[in-house]
Amino acid sequence: MEKTFEKISESLFSKLNKDENLIISFSGENSQFIRFNNAAVRQTGLVDDADLGLKFISNGRTCSAGFTISGDFDLDLKRGLDEINRMRKESSEIPEDPFLVMPTDSGSSHEVKGADGLPFEDSVDAILPAVSGVDFVGILANGRMYRGSANNLGQKHWFETESFCLDYSLVTPNHQMVKGCYAGSKWNQDDYERYVKRSREKLVLMDRKPVKVGTGEYKTWFEAAAVADFLGMFSWNGISEASLRQGCSGFGRMRHDDARLSEKFSVIEDFSPGLCPKFNSNGEISPDKISLIENGQLINTLVSSRSAKEYGVDSNYAESGEYMRSPRMEVGKLNQDDVIREIEKGLYLSNIHYLNWSDNAGGRITGLTRYACFWVEGGEIVAPIETMRFDDSFYQFFGNNLLNVEDKLTVVPEVGTYGQRSLGATRCPGILVDSFALTL
């Protein structure tokens, strides 16, 4: 893939006229997808896909293009040249863009991660024996992923990794579920079987008759997977500088009213684990670490180079959508062994589902409980709960109502496969919250 990317990039750069600039991005995968239901294969297949993105800058205008790389160099070059010619013509028609981002050459990078993964032909036999006798449903996404960036000034980045992600649920006969996600780059059969065994052990708790919890406010523990979902909302009308400037960010109260979250709450964009590329689609390299919220105070937003120009602030080389690519929340002091006792009476939520802003300006998020969620009383797990809707503000549950933060980080991988497999992960602890609002 890298050679394909290099060859076509150089050929396209050589066709540019004076005063034309071109930034090329590359995204590809060779993936296996196996879908399971009831511990059997529902659908199985392979996908080879690679797309080239072109950002053409000329005459103070920017145009973009993208197309599929077929693997036939002559055909792919023709596709690229056709797009450049189209963009060259459009650049004479469309309005000038005063905030366009020119390419720079601030150094190149090359990262190819080795792996000892799961061979495609072994996947079914490796996975299914460990889940026999249980209702197992989910997906294996497996194989290599590629990202690249180059520009006509000579800057070039390449990132290549191989990984597997088995994202699954175990289901009891009375429809209660436990979630698991076994992911990595080195497949270890014994480790996988131990992981599934722990999921099966959790499933025993789900056999208890579910209790119906009323609406109201509860002391609530969120496992790291649930916290990662809350942090994910910051990437959608939250931490983006453009979103704040355009009046559609839930962080407005922190920016305009000096609202503070809890001192126990800190979030950093942290690329140091190398779970995803540090370069963005413009080929710009982010700092290793950017402190976003520090002890409850908004320190930095994510700023793309376009926003920097438009709003007169410094860029931290965020992706154009100004979303978090490698977030980490700081740990606290609560040990997992003490969680149930600390809840005393309330909710233990392993996962949450279908979040949305219900009042963006107020920071209010609605969503639902899902999977292994329990009622706790007398410092003990009583039973799973029936599904409940919540609607509460992060200014409360990451603010004054944040009682304690777990002392350990969990890596919650990006499992999304819209268009292509996602890279990266959120690293965060669990949190204990007071007075969390259930509404339906």
Binding site: F120, D257, N356
Partner: protein, 480 residues
């Protein structure tokens, strides 16, 4: 774009001892253009092109999505798909035969009168700038945008048992948006978002609709919302405009009736369903006023087509008739697995994903009340337009929606505007409280370009058409 690939020659390149083989070639191009705050932020064109090779062996389908459309590439892809299927068949969930891919021949073409290149990039940018100028009615409009996106899709499907289908689509998405802000008091009003205008049509759209008048109205309403009272809280009557009804239908009916969900395929991702196989023909889903159809024949609706991605011919069918659940959203595979009647809804997002049960056009059939009569039925309640927030549980029971714009209804009349109107409920009790259905004059055709589902994940386009509707006893509430 007409493909120059000889797909019949590609099919003949597959030489394997399989029960069935099919090739689905998909080309799709998106051309978005957007003006934000007076300047261009998108003038792009991106395309994707490849073939999904599917084989059936030992009762198991296997697939390989490839952009290599040479005979050698397709032959190699089929061989790899075959090996995947062979291995999986030892642990397959269900043994299919070729009746899961019925043989049909035919063509489909989206209706349009003006082609995509009938307006130049420059002319479209000028139009969008003019719309932006109309949106910016005040300095309190801190951001405004206007955008359009053309989508061209060409689909060809051919199989070893004689399917030969060609479908070409031209679609247009359009939106206007204005955000007014005064400190942390911020309100956004749109033309329905990307769900507001998404249809199968060409650039004739820009001749027919009063875009500039609508842009001005949207800007004015964003300002109006800044000073509006919060929506009241309580249980009350609710009249829902068609541009919100579409999402109510989508979330609390459409997804719940997908048979692959009911069969459990989606439990690890999108979820299950409160509907059970034994509910078909019996469940009182809603009041007798409720008639829901799967209608791929409604001209210009976003997900109209003649055949699904498994090659099954698409026809209009009632899903819910006079409030009773009569049919599910199950394509041929789900029909075979469940023994239920279904519809032609086996769809994929492109050449690199396998089809699954999806919505297409799911519509609420019109009733007989004029809009004024619907409002006239209400002594005390709220009217809501245009979705801005949505959420529902994994069984499709407990939903919550937020809208952009609300009006108080008092003694049968619309009175003052309210901001942050929200409501929540549980699917079947809510639909059984359907008290009034608007007539054809209140009927609106909408859709969504980004319905997500499936593992691996897929986004597809869905159409929803509905009249305005009146519901009783709804829990309504406002912002913080």
């Amino acid at each position: 774009m007409k493909s120059d690939i000889d797909i019949k020659k590609l099919l003949s390149a597959v030489d394997l001892p399989v029960e069935w083989v099919g090739l689905r070639e998909v080309y799709e191009a998106h051309t978005p253009r957007m003006i934000r705050d007076g300047f261009p932020v998108a003038n792009a064109r991106s395309s994707t092109h490849g073939v999904m090779v599917e084989v059936l062996t030992d009762g198991q389908f296997g697939y390989y999505g490839t952009p290599d459309m040479t005979p050698e590439g397709i032959s190699s892809a089929a061989e790899k798909a075959y090996r995947q299927a062979k291995i999986a068949a030892r642990n397959g969930l269900f043994k299919f035969d070729e009746t899961a891919r019925p043989a049909f021949k035919g063509q489909y073409q989206s209706p349009f009168t003006k082609k995509r290149d009938s307006l130049s990039a420059g002319a479209l940018n000028e139009l969008l700038i003019e719309a932006y100028n109309q949106l910016k009615v005040s300095e309190k409009i801190v951001s405004a945008s206007s955008l359009c996106q053309l989508i061209e899709t060409s689909f060809r499907f051919i199989s070893s048992n004689g399917s030969d289908i060609e479908q070409d689509f031209l679609m247009l998405e359009f939106d206007l948006s204005a955000t007014a802000a005064d400190g942390t008091n911020q309100q956004t009003r749109t033309f329905g978002g990307m769900r507001g205008t998404c249809r199968q049509m060409g650039l004739e759209y820009f001749d027919k609709y009063e875009i500039m008048a609508n842009a001005n109205r949207i800007g004015e309403q964003a300002i109006e919302l800044l000073d509006a009272d919060e929506c009241p809280s309580g249980e009350m009557d609710l009249v829902i405009a068609p541009d919100q009804m579409m999402l109510q239908i989508h979330e609390s009916i459409g997804h719940a009736l997908e048979v692959d969900r009911i069969l459990g395929d989606e439990r690890n991702y999108a979820g299950w369903s409160f509907v059970k196989l034994e509910d078909f023909g019996k469940l009182q889903y809603g009041s007798e006023l409720m008639n829901i159809t799967f209608d791929p024949t409604l001209e210009s609706e976003f997900a109209s087509y003649a055949f699904d991605d498994g090659g099954l011919e698409a026809t209009k069918e009632y899903l819910i008739k006079d409030g009773i659940l009569v049919r599910g959203l199950g394509g041929k595979e789900s029909q075979i697995r469940s023994g239920l009647d279904g519809v032609a809804n086996f769809r994929s997002s492109g050449w690199n994903r396998a089809p699954i049960d999806r919505m297409a056009n799911i519509n609420l059939e019109p009733g007989d009340l004029a809009f004024e009569e619907l409002i006239g039925e209400v002594k005390s309640g709220v009217y809501m337009e245009s979705n801005k927030s949505w959420s529902i549980d994994d069984y499709r029971n407990k939903f919550q929606f937020g809208c952009e714009y609300g009006k108080i209804i008092e003694d049968g009349k619309l009175t003052k505007t309210v901001k942050n109107p929200n409501y929540r409920g549980i699917s079947t009790p809510f639909w059984n409280n359907l008290k009034g259905v608007g007539n054809n004059d209140t009927f609106g055709i909408y859709g969504t370009p980004n319905c997500g589902k499936g593992e691996p994940n897929q986004v597809i386009r869905v159409g929803h058409a509905s009249p305005a509707c009146l519901f009783g006893n709804v829990e309504v509430f406002g912002g913080v």
